[in-house]
C-alpha cells in the first residue's frame, strides 16, 4: 500500500506547540547515508557532540550504491530543499565497489539536474568515512547555509 499523505499530520502543524514562538523557515535536507561509513560518521558526530543544524534527515542504506537516482527526484518532488548522497571514500567501500558505481551515477545525475535548471548546491554527493564526524558536521552545516541562502525549493516540487 502507498502512504496516505493526507492523513499524516504535517510537521509544520506539529511544531505549533503551545508555548513555542513560530519557528523561522528551516531547510529540509534528505540525506542518504551508507551504513558503514557516512551513517557511522554521523553517529560519531553525535558521540562527539558536534552540533549542526537540525535540517537533515538521514535515511540509512547499506551502501551508497543502493541509492537510486529516482529516490532523489522523489525527495525534491515531495518537498526536500536539498538532497545529500553520502558514502565511503573510493577504495573504502564495505562492499569494495559500490561507491564507484555511485560516483558514476551521481556525477551524471548532478549534471543532468543542473541542466534541468536545479541549482547544483541543492544536490550534493560526498564521501564521509566512519571517522569523519567533523566532516559530517561541516558538510551539513555548509549545505544548510547554502540552501538557506537559496531559499525554499520550488522546483520539481508537487506539495506546497
Amino acid at each position: 500500500m502507498s502512504l496516505n499523505t493526507e492523513a499524516l499530520p504535517k510537521s509544520q502543524e506539529v511544531t505549533a506547540s503551545p508555548e513555542a514562538a513560530p519557528q523561522p523557515w528551516e531547510p529540509r535536507i534528505v540525506g542518504f547515508a551508507c551504513n558503514w561509513c557516512t551513517y557511522a560518521g554521523a553517529d560519531l558526530a553525535g558521540l562527539s557532540r558536534l552540533q549542526y543544524p537540525p535540517s537533515i534527515r538521514l535515511i540509512r542504506v547499506p551502501c551508497s550504491g543502493r541509492v537510486n537516482p529516482q529516490f532523489v527526484i522523489r525527495a525534491f518532488q515531495r518537498g526536500a530543499d536539498g538532497v545529500l548522497v553520502a558514502g565511503c571514500h573510493p577504495g573504502d567501500c564495505h562492499y569494495s565497489t559500490g561507491n564507484y558505481f555511485t560516483r558514476r551515477r551521481f556525477l551524471l545525475m548532478q549534471r543532468l539536474l543542473e541542466y534541468m535548471g536545479m541549482d547544483p548546491r541543492r544536490f550534493q554527493a560526498r564521501w564521509i568515512s566512519g571517522s569523519e564526524g567533523p566532516k559530517f558536521q561541516q558538510v551539513v552545516t555548509q549545505m544548510t547555509e547554502d540552501i538557506k541562502a537559496l531559499g525554499p525549493n520550488r522546483k520539481m516540487r508537487d506539495v506546497e
Partner: protein, 659 residues
Amino acid sequence: MRRTGVFVCHCGSNIAGTVDVERVAKEAAKFPNVVFATDYKYMCSEPGQQVIKDAIKEHNLDRVVVASCSPRMHEPTFRRCLESAGMNPYLFEMANIREHCSWVHPDKEKGTIKSIDLVRKAAAKVVKDEPLQKSSIGITKRALVIGGGIAGIQVALDIADAGFPVTIVEKEPTIGGRMAQIDKTFPTLDCSACILTPKMVDASQHPNIEILSYSEVEKVEGYVGNFDITIRKKARSVDMSKCTGCGTCWEKCPTKVDSEFDMQLGKRKAIYTPFPQAVPNKPVIDRVNCTKFRTGKCGICQKVCPTGAVDYEQQDELITEKYGAIVVATGFNQFDHSVYGEYGYGKYPDVITGLHFERLINASGPTMGKIKRPSDHKIPETVVFIKCVGSRDEAKGKSYCSRTCCMYTAKHATLVHEKIPGSKSYIFYMDVRTPGKGYEEFYKRTAEEYEAQYIRGRVSKVYQKGDKLVVRGEDSLIGRPVEIEADMVVLANAMVAREDAGDLARTLGISYDKDNFFTEAHPKLRPVETHTAGVFLAGACQGPKDIPDSVAQAGAAASKAIGLLSKTQMESDAIVSNVDESRCSGCMICKGICPYKAIDAKLITERVGGKMAERQVAAVNKSLCQGCGACTVACRAGCLNLLGFTNEQILAEVEAVCL
C-alpha cells in the same frame, strides 16, 4: 492496516535532556498504522525490553519501532527481543534520535520536531517490512590450496592437522616454491632447505594431504562451501604409479637444458626433477627440449627405466572435484630489470639478481656454494649490491616497497664476507627498512661487523670496463658522485606478482590491485579473506612478504578455512537481493555490477501463447549476496529489490521525511 507499536527511549537524560520524549510518543500515536506508543527510561534494559514484549502481546502488535540510539548499536538487541516475543525480527525499525538528534541539537524544540520526523520515517518504513528468513547451505569439508610454496605447504599442513582433506595444486613438478631456491634465511642464517624440506616431506606423507604437482587450476564454478574445481594435470610423460624415483632416467638422459631452478646458472636434463629433494621425487619430461619429442629419436629414458614408467603418449588429464574452501598461495616473481638501461638492460652477465645469488651461494647449487662470476667463474673480490631495483620507482618499476630486499641484501653481504676472505661489499640504498624481530640487529651487524659499506644513493650507471663493472652513483649523504670498480653486481629486484595472476584472479572471481597482487577483503580487519566468500589468501601473492610473514598469514588463512569447514551448514544473512522473475527481462546488467559474483543467469520455462518457452532471468545466490543493493539500482525495471531496504521502503521513508 498494520498494528505498529512505537517505543521512545529517554536514554536517561541522553535523549530526554534535549528531546521532549513524551511529546514524540504522543505525536507518534497519531501516525497511520500506529496503535500504541509509549516512552521509557531505558528501552534497551531488561525492563525496557519487557515493556516491548508486553505491548506486543497486549496490543497484538505486528510491527515495532524503537526510537533511541543508532541501529548500529542496538538493532541486534531489539531484533532478539522481538524474536523472543514470537515475532519475526525483521518487522522492526529504529529511529536514531540520540546520535543524530539529541546529542547534536541542543535546541529542545527543534530536536523534538526532528525526532518526530525520524519516528515518522521509521513508522512509514516499518509498515512495509516483510518477515525475512535466513537461509543456509551445506558445506563440502575439503580444501584446495593453490600453490605449493612455503605458504601453501603451511596452509595445507594446518588444515590437514585439523582433520580436513586438502589438495595442493602446484604448477611446477615439485612443491617447495621460492624458499627451496633460497640458501639461508635471515636474520638467523639457518639453512632454508633444512627447515623447508621436512615440511615438504610432512606434507607428502600426511594422510589428509594430496599433492597434485605439475597441475593447474583450470576452472572454478560454484560458491563458498560448494566449489566445483577443474584441475589440469599436465602430462608428465611419467606414470606416477610406476615410477620409484630411482633417478636412472635423468642420469642417462643425454640432453642438457638450462635449469630454471638454478636461475639458468646450472644445467638439468630433459627428464628431470628440479632439485634432489623434490616432492614428489618423480621426474617429468620437458617436452620442448626432449630429443624424443623434438626429433622422434632417442627414447633412452624409456629403455633404461626399470619399471616401465616412462610414457611418451601420456596426455593432459582434466579432473573436477568438489571443495568447500580455496586458499590461494601462488607466490611471486622477480622483477625483470631489463627495463633499466642504467644497469645495462640485463646484458652484462655479471649483473645478477638476488635469486641468482642465492643459487650461487647454495651448497647444492651450480657452483657448489662457491661464489663465482657467471661470465668467467672468477671469484669476485668487490661486490656491489643495488637495492630497490624496480621497487619504489614509479617511473620504471613499481611504486611499492618489496619489504624483503633490505634484509636479504644484508644477508648476502654477510655471506660474501664469510665466504670470500678479503672481499668488500658495497650496498647502494635509498632507505634501510628493517621492521621485523631481530632485523635491525642483523643489519647493524652486517654494516659493523661484516664491514659492508652502505652508500645512500641511487646508481646512475653500470658499465663494463675491461673485466670490471664500473658502478657509478651518488653518495647523497656527502653529496658526491662515487665510482666503484666491482667484480659482480647484485640487484635486489622487486617482488612482483606472477605474470598470470590476473588470469587466476578472473578464474577465481577475486580482485587484484594495480600491481596484480590479489586484494584482501579489508586491508586491516580481513587481511586473509577475499571478497569472494570461501577464497582466502596466503603469502606473497597478496603482496611482498618474507618467510615469517608468509607462514603467519598461511596460519591465519588456514584457520579461516578451518572455521568455514568445521560448520555443517552455513547461515547467510536475510538482507539479500531478490529477483522478481516474472518481470525480469534477463538483460543481466546486474551481473556485472555485483562484486560477489552472486548473480547469474538462469533459464526458466513458462507457458507463452499455448506453448512452453524458455526465458533467461537473473538469479541471486543468497549465500553469496552480501546485501549491498548496487544491483537494484542498475535494474531499470525495478525487479531486483533488496530485502529489508526495498525500493518501496526507501520511498516511504523519503515521503515521510519530506512532509
